[in-house]
Structure formats: structure tokens, C-alpha cells
């Protein structure tokens, strides 16, 4: 691999949702880097802010959410300083998003080919005929059987796997620098999930696209990613290479999370669970947000928010257990 070039830098991103019940601090200072041509996994439980992070990068945070502060540096430019018009040119062309539910993310009235060709028409100012041919080519790359025929089909005529393939085709149509995949395999069965993962891996290699893969499935992370960002309740708690995370998890949350995965070795035993539930983000816990559920919590954890420290090369963790020693 070439020297790591930073493609995306998210810095101290804060996103709050101003609801009737109070301010929900969905993201509370999220920071991470994404390098060119890498697959970065973003893991965490439901509601920890993974999707909000993705939508913030696209600048598509739905109301009543607002990006309060932070910087999102994409290829040297701060996306948060861009106008809406400039964002139109970036979305779908330089950064694409694949959604969780391919069924409702496709317009039922247009053929799949039309929808794949669409971004080519308005981003690359391509004629429709050429865009269509290109769309068929891209659909072929996603290994949809009989791409010319499938391009002429309507979304409801395709299976879930094929729909997700066409969503991927749509996202890759303009050959973006960054592909954000927001749990794209959650609604698919495991065999199809497997195929989609293989596909994304191959396409990522072929196009050299960087991928931000959002999931709650650590198995998928192990399969696909180079590095992992672990999120908990709107905070990044740990960042490391994928092997490092699985062999030396540092943050108590990551450790607990890994223990909660069933493995082939522990047949019949009881799976460990993390006591308690994900905290509500209106009035989040003080200090480290994980402290109410953390077995190693001390007074410091209750009062002070831990900052990110690099414990080993490329392995960052936000936990007081490591700050005192290092």
C-alpha cells in the first residue's frame, strides 16, 4: 500500500437534535480519520450515532437535528462550510451513500437502469443513451444476472439482493472517492450478505474507493475492514486496526462487545451480556458515557470525559484506565 493519504477527517463533530422532550446530544465530539482506499468500519449499538455520522458527512441530517460544531474535512475542504449548491455536486458524485433498506430507497415508478443512469446524467452531463449504457455496465459489475434486462426492470421485480446490488451500482455510478454504506446488509439473509460483502470488497479494490462501512455486526467488520471505529452513545471510544481490535481490545466497552459474540469455541455456554442499556442521550451520563455500565469505572470516570490517547501505534482509546498509566 502507498503512503496513507487522508481523505476524510471528522473533527470534534457535534450534532444535536432539538426535540420537544429536550436536546438529544446524538453526536458529542466525534473524531476520526479515513484514509484513501481503505475500508473503515464504524461499529456500535443501535442509537449510538452511526447513521447520524453518515448523514452529517453528506450534510443531510434531518430536522430537528443540527450540526452544532466540528469540521468535516473531505479532500482538504471543509464540507460544513460548503453551500447547498456545492453539496449537490459532491453528493452522489464524490461521496455516495448506500442505505439500509434497498426496497424503499428505489423509486417504484422508474426502472432500475434509469435510476442508476440518473446521477450520470446530472453529474457528468452525459446523454441519456450513454448514461444508460454505462448503467448497464455498472450493473454488470455488481454481478446482477442479465444486466440489460434487469436495467429495464422495475424495483419490485427484483429480489432484495438484486435491489441492494442496484443500489451499490447507483452509488458507484459516478466513481465516488468515498462510499458510505449504512448497514446495507441488515435486511438481507446471510448468504446474500456474504455475496454483497465479497462484491463490495472486489469493487473497492477495482475502483480504489474508500469505504465507510457502518454496521453493528462485528463479523462483517472482521471480514471487510482495515480499521475500526467503535462508537458508544455519541462518542468514539476506540479506533484501531481490525486485527488489533480483535486481539487487544482496550476499551471496556469493546471488550464487552467482543465477548457478546457467539463463537465456535464456546459451545453451549452462556453468552456474556453488557449490563444495563444504552443511555438516553437527553441528559447523558456525566464524564465517560459508558461509566454506568463499566465494570472498571472509578470516580474519575464519573466526572471527567476521557480524551483520545494513542496507546500503541495507530491504536487510540478514550478511557481513563489508560491515561493514568501512559
Amino acid at each position: 500500500m502507498k503512503a496513507k493519504e487522508r481523505l476524510l477527517k471528522v473533527e470534534d463533530l457535534k450534532v444535536h437534535f432539538f426535540t420537544y422532550g429536550g436536546v438529544v446530544e446524538a453526536l458529542d465530539g466525534v473524531s476520526f480519520d479515513l484514509f484513501r482506499s481503505e475500508v473503515l468500519g464504524l461499529v456500535g449499538e443501535s442509537g449510538c450515532g452511526k447513521s447520524v455520522t453518515a448523514l452529517s458527512i453528506m450534510r443531510l441530517v434531518p430536522r430537528p437535528g443540527r450540526i452544532i460544531s466540528g469540521r468535516i474535512i473531505f479532500d482538504g475542504e471543509d464540507l460544513l462550510k460548503k453551500s447547498e449548491k456545492e453539496m449537490y455536486k459532491i453528493r452522489g458524485s464524490r461521496i455516495s451513500l448506500i442505505f439500509q433498506d434497498p426496497t424503499s430507497s428505489l423509486n417504484p415508478l422508474f426502472t432500475v437502469g434509469y435510476q442508476v443512469a440518473e446521477p450520470l446524467v446530472y453529474h457528468h452531463r452525459m446523454g441519456f443513451k450513454r448514461a444508460w449504457d454505462k448503467a448497464v455496465q455498472i450493473l454488470a459489475k455488481t454481478r446482477i444476472p442479465d444486466p440489460p434486462a434487469k436495467a429495464r426492470s422495475y424495483p419490485h421485480e427484483l429480489s432484495g439482493g438484486m435491489r441492494q446490488r442496484s443500489m451499490i451500482a447507483m452509488a458507484l455510478a459516478c466513481q465516488p472517492d468515498l462510499l458510505i454504506a449504512d448497514e446495507p446488509t441488515t435486511n438481507l439473509d446471510v448468504t446474500v450478505e456474504r455475496q454483497i460483502l465479497e462484491l463490495v470488497k472486489d469493487l473497492q479494490r477495482e475502483f480504489g474507493t474508500s469505504v465507510l462501512w457502518i454496521t453493528h455486526n462485528l463479523g462483517v467488520i472482521a471480514e471487510l475492514c482495515n480499521r475500526v471505529v467503535v462508537m458508544y452513545a455519541g462518542n468514539v471510544v476506540e479506533i484501531a486496526e481490525v486485527e488489533e481490535i480483535f486481539s487487544h481490545p482496550l476499551h471496556p466497552y469493546t471488550q464487552k462487545l467482543l465477548k457478546a459474540i457467539p463463537s465456535a469455541q464456546t459451545v453451549g455456554g452462556k453468552l456474556e451480556e453488557i449490563p444495563g442499556t444504552v443511555p438516553k442521550l437527553i441528559n447523558p451520563p456525566s464524564g465517560c458515557r459508558f461509566h454506568p455500565r463499566c465494570p472498571a469505572a472509578t470516580d474519575v470516570c464519573r466526572e471527567e470525559k476521557p480524551s483520545m490517547i494513542e496507546v500503541r501505534a495507530g491504536h487510540f482509546v478514550a478511557c481513563h484506565l489508560y491515561s493514568s498509566g501512559g
Binding site: 449537490y88 423509486n107 417504484p108 422508474f110 440518473e118 453529474h123
Partner: protein, 303 residues
């Protein structure tokens, strides 16, 4: 390089082939639906009569012939004559265009008004939505026909005023329909997906939101055609619409109703004509709804 018109035609045909095929499929499904075909046939006959009725009418609809009043149906007067000896068939044939005119004019105004207002309300939301929808609610709070009666009584009874009154009553229905549709489509995942692909707002409105509102509008339009004709005939029947001697169907039913036991054909045939036309539009509307739904359409194709 220059192409002959024939080559050009062939090229165009080739380019349009997929969409033509899709349209062909729509018509195919419509054709397979017997009641829709019946509806289409009735509607087509109605349109034909509205256009050419006066040319095929055997008599002048205004020509009175007191000696031959209340003649039952016979070869010389297939549908009989009315109280002034006018030929009912000729009056019926002339009357078709008044009903057609009412339906077309009322909907041609209220549909665009409803689509624009409803679209604005649904897409912009906020206080614009509030204002438009509250005004719509005021109109919808009154029973349609009674409100139309009030308008047309205030404006003075005539066919034109009845049409105006019906337009005033009809647009809120479309405003509400389109607003609801725009709201649900706006929130749909595919609109969000389109935004994530960098589609501009205008592009989304025209390419994603409008087409997805079109099917319900078209279906309601067809069904409403019958409803407007019926309402217009009702207004005329009650004396708020067309005035004698205009051969408007509702008016004709009204004129004949006191002689119902003596000369049933005077009211019966215009009444039947109204019922038939309304039925035709309803059947066609249902058929169009089934044919335009890509899901139902493909199922028919397989089966």
C-alpha cells in the same frame, strides 16, 4: 448525414421502444379488464355524442309540436316526445355536450389549482401549509352540493354559474389529495436516496414527487368526471343550473318528473343517460388505477 422521413420514423420508434412497450402493457391490462373496457366504451360513446350529437339528431331539440306531445317511443320518435312535443332523443343528443363541458371545465380548473396549491402546501410545509390547508378545510367543511347551490343561487342560475360554483367546491379535494401524496413521497426513502445522490430540489420535485402523485390524480380525475357530471345535473335538476329550454340532462329529468306516471320516457331516458355516463367513468377510473400500478400490471402480464 440526412435521413429520409421513414428512417427517422424507424429510429424514433426504436428509441421509444421500451416506453412504448410499457404503454402497450398498460393498455393490455386495461383491455383485459372487461369492466374497464365497458367503461371505456361508454365514455368513448359519450365523447362521440358530445362532439357529433347535434349532427346526428333527427329533429331540432327546440322545435315544439304541441299536437304530438307526450308521444310514447315509436319509430318516428325513438325515445318519445315531451310536454311540448319536442323529440327526447334529439334533446338527449344535444344535451351530451353540456354535461361534457361541465365535467371538463370544472376539472380543467380545479385539478391544476389543487395540484399547485397542494404541492406547495406539501413541499414547503410550515405556515404556508397551514394557511392553504385551513382555507381548504373551510371549503371542505360544507357539504359540496349545498355549497355549490349557495354559490350558484348567489350568482344567479345558469349553466355557466353552476360550473363556476362546482369549480369552487371541487379544488379543495385535489389540494388535499396532492398535499397528502406530496407529504408521504417527500418523506420516502427514495427521495432521501435521491438527495444523497446529489439531485437538486427542483429535480426531485419533477422527477420523484410529481410522478408519484400522478396516478392518484389521474384516477381521481376519471372518477370525478362522473361525479362532476352528476353534480351538475343535480344542480340543474334543482333549478340552479341550466335553464329551459336548454336540453341539459338534469333539467330534462326535472322537467319530466311531474309527468312520470303519465309519460315515463321524458325523465327516464335522460336519467338513464346520466347514470350510464357516471357508471362509465367510474368503471374506467377503476380500470386505470389497476393498469397504472406497475405491480398489479406485471402480475396480470404473468397470469
Amino acid at each position: 448525414m440526412r435521413f429520409s422521413p421513414l428512417t427517422k420514423y424507424r429510429l424514433l420508434k426504436k428509441r421509444l421502444k421500451p416506453s412504448l412497450k410499457e404503454m402497450g402493457l398498460t393498455f393490455y391490462v386495461l383491455r383485459k379488464n372487461a369492466s374497464a373496457v365497458l367503461g371505456a366504451f361508454i365514455v368513448a360513446s359519450f365523447i362521440f355524442l358530445a362532439l357529433f350529437g347535434p349532427y346526428i339528431a333527427p329533429y331540432d331539440p327546440y322545435e315544439t309540436d304541441i299536437i304530438h306531445r307526450f308521444e310514447p317511443p315509436s319509430p318516428s320518435h325513438p325515445l318519445g316526445t315531451d310536454k311540448l312535443g319536442r323529440d327526447v332523443l334529439s334533446r338527449l343528443l344535444h344535451g351530451a355536450r353540456y354535461s361534457a363541458k361541465a365535467g371538463i371545465v370544472v376539472l380543467a380548473i380545479s385539478v391544476p389549482v389543487g395540484v399547485i396549491l397542494g404541492g406547495i402546501a406539501g413541499l414547503f410545509g410550515g405556515w404556508i401549509d397551514e394557511i392553504i390547508m385551513r382555507i381548504t378545510d373551510i371549503f371542505l367543511a360544507f357539504p359540496g352540493l349545498i355549497l355549490a347551490m349557495a354559490f350558484s343561487a348567489a350568482l344567479g342560475p345558469s349553466l355557466e354559474n353552476a360550473m363556476l360554483a362546482l369549480t369552487l367546491v371541487w379544488w379543495p379535494l385535489y389540494t388535499r389529495l396532492v398535499r397528502g401524496q406530496a407529504l408521504s413521497v417527500r418523506e420516502s426513502a427514495y427521495v432521501e436516496a435521491a438527495r444523497s445522490r446529489g439531485a437538486s430540489k427542483l429535480y426531485i420535485v419533477f422527477k420523484h414527487i410529481l410522478p408519484n402523485c400522478l396516478t392518484p390524480i389521474l384516477v381521481t380525475f376519471t372518477l370525478d368526471m362522473g361525479a362532476v357530471i352528476l353534480s351538475c345535473a343535480s344542480l340543474s335538476f334543482l333549478g340552479f343550473g341550466a335553464q329551459p329550454p336548454l336540453p341539459e340532462w338534469g333539467r330534462m329529468v326535472s322537467d319530466g318528473r311531474i309527468y312520470l306516471f303519465q309519460a315515463w320516457w321524458v325523465s327516464m331516458f335522460p336519467g338513464l343517460a346520466i347514470a350510464l355516463v357516471v357508471l362509465g367513468f367510474n368503471l374506467l377510473g377503476d380500470g386505470i388505477r389497476d393498469a397504472l400500478d406497475p405491480k398489479l400490471r406485471r402480475i396480470t402480464e404473468v397470469g
